[in-house]
Symmetry: C2
Subunit: 331 residues, 2 copies
């Protein structure tokens, strides 16, 4: 007999999925960022639900407004990673009975703001009573069949890339949770990435329209874990040649003598897209991103061999399947 | 400064909604059972999310399988009440880390069963770690514009009706929570309505297709509260001439000298539809239900005056806005 903390979140999901009947001709398989239903005429209804739990997901100092906004953003991000804009958001909100009216109002304002920033609307939801704040969001959008950037399309020799640099949220969490210090301007930047995450929706839509991308996902579980997820779905491996380290994360690690690669690889709660691009189409992908004010960062290559490695000074080091995992990671 | 327990769930929702931008030409307004987005060509994507919390929603004796099944059913029921079949279900599952693997498997089996009973599939979801079990379900289905049975269409002189009798779940909860007794066969029937709820999906679809129904909702907050919700959305009142009391509930109240009308009106977690029908089309509604093995129970009339009253032996008694309400009702 096993308990969930012995199994970890991924194994629990694996086990549970075995007991689910699979919809015939399901447009998006289990284990991708989103689910989908066929709407006919080459359109898909794209759906995502993800839950935010106050005690495990909200660091000290984060406001009710920011928490509710984030619960919306993290669902919108998953659709964006597939190249789909969110139309509507629903929220199931669990609140303790001693929540103050003002806090509920701040959460309403936060979820509205999160949706409106990305052109979506909060369409409805439900409240109920819980011991701690639980914000279960769901996002709906309409996608085009054949254009969704799934996790499963990466092929050997594709270019591995991201839409941005990594490490800031990990540094932000070290400040907020472990109490590490940083000069005011740096501190603000790092903490902001935790409190006010941004979803790469326009970037995802532009990349999907370019037709140059073979696989994509958001990096909310960390860069390393995203590589493992893409590897699993696509049946490939990755060689990372260059870590997409943010200058702010670098500055922070120098201050505290921390290993930069740890922050870049094993952070999480980052919403950059991790993607693979056909080598001959790399300029198209770059241009698509530039048009929406983004930038493609090439970090490595897709490999036939399923290992996930980092080439550091001509040595290949394995990248661990690390990152936050529910049930296992918590104290 | 107010706390939620001073406001109650409905007031909290009222307050929060004020801070949400309303989607232009929103197909279904706030306060209905479901939300919807326009899919074009007279079709709507119909969405619902509702959360089940172990400590407040699951009575002693209910299994993990039954709880997960119910979390799916209660979302499917809301779509069914609008006349819409659910295509896909997503689940955000919060689990304590000391949950046993077998319990997780039972929940997967339960949610799958709940979906499959109504022709739907579980398409995906998410798990995370919580202090107690939280099952946040969401349902998606495709509806036809103009055919959705909203809460807002009831007109004076329409016939008030239900798809079934009430009171069994209230009796079931008295057995399970208050420890009241009942003979084995009766006990089983009453407790089953709590443990294994049924959604009236085929009934809802048949009624919507009949075109005879002006308003409809499911009765998960109890019959009285459903009347208040329909009254609010339609701007009408109701006169109940005949309580749709289940024979089993009647037998139970006789055993324990309880007031039958309390169980019928102020129960909850029942999934019968409460609806209003154009008087000249009542036979069509009855036939539509009969074709799917159901039965329409006429219980009263829609009134111009917004009061909600029960005509008992030629006296009009007000029906209270009672029933379960989160934040307020709990101890």
């Amino acid at each position: 007999m096993s308990y969930l903390y012995q199994l970890g979140e991924r194994r629990v999901i694996e086990i549970m999925i075995r007991y689910l009947d699979v919809m015939p001709r399901i447009p998006v398989p289990f284990w991708d960022d989103v689910s989908a239903v066929d709407l006919g005429e080459d359109r898909l209804g794209v759906l995502k639900t993800d839950m935010l739990v106050w005690s495990t997901d909200i660091p000290p100092g984060m406001t009710h407004y920011q928490a509710a906004r984030k619960a919306v953003i993290m669902n919108i991000s998953d659709l964006g990673a597939k190249g789909v804009r969110t139309t509507g958001v629903l929220i199931s909100l669990g609140l303790p009975r001693n929540t103050r009216e003002e806090e509920a109002v701040e959460m309403a304002r936060g979820m509205n703001a999160g949706a409106r920033e990305y052109g979506a609307y909060v369409l409805g939801g439900d409240t109920c009573e819980t011991d701690e704040i639980i914000i279960s969001g769901m996002a709906f959008g309409i996608g085009e069949k054949g254009k969704l950037m799934l996790r499963s399309g990466a092929r050997p020799r594709d270019i591995l890339a991201t839409t941005g640099a990594f490490g800031k949220t990990a540094a932000g969490f070290k400040i907020l949770i472990e109490g590490l210090d940083a000069p005011d301007d740096l501190r603000r930047k790092l903490v902001d990435t935790v409190f006010v995450p941004r979803a790469r929706v326009e970037e995802g839509v532009a990349l999907a329209e370019s037709g140059a991308v073979t696989a994509s996902m958001d990096s909310s579980d960390g860069l390393a874990m995203s590589l493992y997820d893409l590897s699993r779905s696509s049946g490939v491996g990755f060689r990372v040649d260059q870590l997409p380290a943010s200058p702010e994360a670098r500055r922070f690690t120098e201050l505290h003598n921390l290993e930069l690669s740890d922050l870049v690889l094993y952070g999480g709660e980052e919403y950059e897209l991790v993607l693979t691009v056909k080598p001959e189409r790399i300029e198209d992908a770059k241009q698509a991103l530039r048009r929406v004010g983004g930038e493609l960062i090439e970090i490595g290559e897709v490999t036939e061999e399923k290992a996930i490695v980092y080439r550091s000074r001509d040595r290949l080091e394995p990248i661990k399947a690390g990152g936050w995992e529910h049930f296992k990671s918590s104290p």
